[in-house]
């Protein structure tokens, strides 16, 4: 471990190792304060950011924030690092890397080429010295296209997850919410249900219901029941129609253990879902959810700041070529992210994910014990639209009646389309036209009471 220091005027600040430097340089987070690793003063934070800016990127290849020997995620990051892809930025410091990212010459192709050479810690480090506008600008250049039955991540496009949750998994209630979302033009990322309980019979029943709807109306989208990966594996063994395999993941071996997953288990599920061959335009089959603070919540943070650990979760995710990676940014609660911290965290997560080559979406959300409201949602959602986010959530009326939090609504998705000219995924857009649901690429048509989709709830 190398001791580093930064001087600001007469003050000299000392940072004992890389993880301490990253933690002190990290923008204010209640979770880092809770862990006792945040900067003690505003000045110490900027001194750390200045020291970090002078750090050569190569240092991140030599010094791990969590030892290789004790952590599976570190081993994955080190073992999958692509030295050839890293070569064009190998001479840069973190500060120089920021300027390279912002340069006109660094376009989407250049970003995609270096992505396998960027480690999660490098992405986290550079984000700590970037303003929101820097991260929005760079993320907008970085495209991550993913395919299953629809194509997500193309320029000028925005997709949405239709999230028709019901507190008791009542099929008619779920179907009613699906009708609502489809009539509002949502659901091209996935129709994804969070089941009320992790019960194999129930999960299978919901998978069959979603598969039936997608087939009956020939909807170019995919389904997911967001159950534990072991339940998805059991469902697949039983012949259930699984499109995407879902799992929550984090940035350390310890937090993943607390979720009951390992890289080997994820690989098993990935192979099982891929072997079903259910995609029509692509074979990206994994759906990961993440969120800053999960490692601290599970006592598995090793003194590393929550934003760096979040980026490390993306290091695990990218080895599985996922279809969807979703930072559920405001779900964890005010002890980790409070009030306006949610806004910056959402932009950081989207930026770091895109920099690492991932098809990022963000669940722009807040809980009722956080100091946040729908105005904060609007700020982050608008920024993410500008940043080129692949997908956001569509929850009826923004009120998830099963998970008890507020996310973005179908109306919110329409707002973003209208204000930023963002069209649905191309396959889904063609379906919306065929179903006479859209009037032009950005506006809803006025639906009549005899529309075929309304029969869905009577099935």
């Amino acid at each position: 471990m190398t001791v580093r220091s930064g001087s600001v005027g007469a003050m000299r600040h000392r940072f004992d190792d890389l993880r301490t430097l990253l933690a002190r340089a990290s923008p204010a987070r209640s979770g880092d304060r809770l862990a006792g690793i945040a900067a003690a003063s505003a000045e110490e934070r900027v001194a750390a950011q200045m020291a970090l800016a002078d750090l050569p990127l190569r240092v991140f290849l030599d010094e791990a924030v969590i030892p290789y020997e004790t952590d599976e995620i570190t081993r994955i990051i080190v073992d999958t690092h692509d030295a050839a892809a890293f070569a064009p930025i190998a001479h840069l410091t973190v500060g120089g890397f920021r300027e390279w990212l912002l340069a006109y010459e660094t376009d989407g192709a250049a970003l995609a080429a270096v992505a396998p050479g960027i480690t999660p810690e490098m992405a986290a480090a550079v984000s700590k010295i970037m303003r929101l506008q820097d991260m929005v600008l760079v993320a907008r250049k970085a495209r991550a296209v993913a395919r299953f039955r629809s194509t997500l991540g193309l320029p000028g496009r925005l997709a949405s997850r239709l999230q028709p949750n019901h507190p008791t998994d009542d099929e008619k209630g779920i179907a009613a919410a699906i009708v609502d979302g489809l009539m509002y033009g949502c659901g091209d990322a996935v129709i994804g249900i969070n089941p009320a309980t992790d019960n194999l019979a129930q999960v299978t029943r919901l998978l069959e219901m979603l598969d039936g709807i997608i087939r009956a109306y020939e909807i170019p989208t995919q389904s997911c029941v967001l159950t534990h990966v072991t339940t998805a594996l059991e469902a697949m063994r039983g012949g259930a129609p699984v499109d995407l395999v879902f799992q929550s993941i984090g940035g350390t071996e310890a937090v993943n253990r607390s979720f009951g997953v390992t890289a080997a288990l994820l690989a098993e599920a990935h192979a099982a879902a891929a072997s079903l061959g259910r995609g029509s335009v692509g074979d990206n089959v994994m759906y990961f959810e993440t969120g800053q603070g999960s490692a601290r919540s599970a006592d598995g943070h090793h003194g590393v700041d929550q934003q760096t650990l979040e980026a490390r979760a993306y290091g695990l995710a990218r080895t599985f070529r996922p279809f969807l990676v979703n930072s559920v940014v405001g779900f964890i609660g005010p002890e980790y992210l409070n009030g306006r911290e949610i806004i910056r965290a959402g932009i950081e997560d989207h930026f770091c994910g895109k920099l690492l080559g991932l098809p990022m979406g963000v669940d722009v959300c807040y809980t009722n014990h956080a100091d946040a409201d729908s105005d904060d949602v609007d700020v982050l959602l608008t920024l993410l639209g500008n940043a080129g986010v692949n997908f956001v959530m569509g929850v009826p009326g923004a009120d998830d009646i099963m998970l008890n939090y507020q996310s973005t609504s179908f109306h919110d998705v329409l707002y973003l389309r209208q204000t930023q000219g963002l069209r649905p995924a191309p396959e889904f857009e063609a379906w919306l036209d065929r179903m006479r649901l859209f009037d032009g690429p950005l506006r809803l048509a006025r639906a009549d009471a005899g529309h075929a989709l309304l029969g869905l709830a009577r099935r």
Partner: protein
């Protein structure tokens, strides 16, 4: 609605020509979700926009509310078991929200009091705990009716239960410390879940086999959204919980390796939205 000329202008203008109702709004009878809200252009009409703000205001208030431990203690004692009270290490509501670690630990005085409970000749099969969590109202409304459905089944099956413990400013993992202190083979905690806009009083049940401090979430099983009439009913929740407890005891484990696969009871019909909608 009064049609008197003296009445002030109505706050409820009814469906407007600028935001006609969605043709499928009648599907609202199948779900408490906010569907069929209509639209002005693509945006939310005024009435549902303000209804959302009202629900958020109520949910924010619900988070702050303190547990009425006297009333809860009376309700629980009526079911038969001995009832103890404890506090977490969180000093107050603000401290509880900002410091989850404190909500997971017992206050030293409570830890000492539970440690002083005379140990049984053989370990208890389970320690049942009720806590405020993030919604005191959920614990007040739903814990006693759920236990009224569960306790007779446990009794008939010969379960030996530790005294029931009420915890204030408690999070899920506080039950692990309680279960360990009472020498129970499993801990089951019923506590208020984070209030939702449409459900400020939802109860969750969490089960941990071999409880002790430091257990992770992967080592627990959960049943959520217990509340009548809109969520999982007491009989169905008790059925699931009894099945989970039975299987955890039989197999000596809990968590992701213990699947909740009780044969399903018929779920209650989804209720309609209340007037706030």
């Amino acid at each position: 609605m009064s049609a008197s000329p003296a009445a002030p202008p109505s706050a409820d203008p009814g469906p407007s020509a600028l935001a006609p109702p969605d043709p499928w709004h009648t599907l609202g009878r199948f779900t408490p979700a906010r569907i069929g809200l209509g639209r002005a252009g693509g945006s939310l009409p005024t009435r549902p926009a303000l209804a959302f703000q009202l629900a958020h205001a109520r949910a924010r208030d619900a988070v702050q509310r303190a547990l009425d431990t006297d009333a809860l203690r009376r309700d629980l004692a009526r079911l038969g078991p001995a009832v103890l009270e404890a506090r977490s290490a969180a000093p107050d509501r603000a401290g509880f929200i900002a410091r989850p670690d404190l909500g997971r630990a017992l206050a030293p005085a409570s830890a000492a009091a539970l440690a002083a409970v005379p140990p049984p000749p053989a370990p208890f099969d389970a320690a049942l705990v009720v806590a405020d969590g993030l919604s005191a109202r959920a614990a007040e409304r739903h814990a006693a009716p759920l236990l009224a459905a569960l306790l007779p089944r446990l009794d008939r099956a010969g379960w030996r239960l530790a005294p029931l413990v009420i915890v204030t400013q408690g999070r899920v993992a506080v039950a692990d410390e309680i279960g360990a202190a009472l020498g129970a083979r499993m801990a089951v905690i019923l506590l208020g879940e984070r209030p939702g806009l449409s459900s400020p009083d939802s109860l969750g049940a969490y089960l941990t086999w071999a409880p002790r401090r430091g257990r992770t979430n992967a080592e627990r099983n959960c049943i959520s959204n217990i509340r009548e009439p809109d969520g999982l009913g007491y009989a169905a929740a008790a059925h699931k919980l009894f099945h989970l407890m039975h299987e955890a005891r039989r197999r000596g484990l809990s968590g992701v390796d213990l699947k909740e696969d009780a044969p399903a009871l018929d779920p209650p019909p989804a209720a309609r939205l209340d007037g706030a909608q």
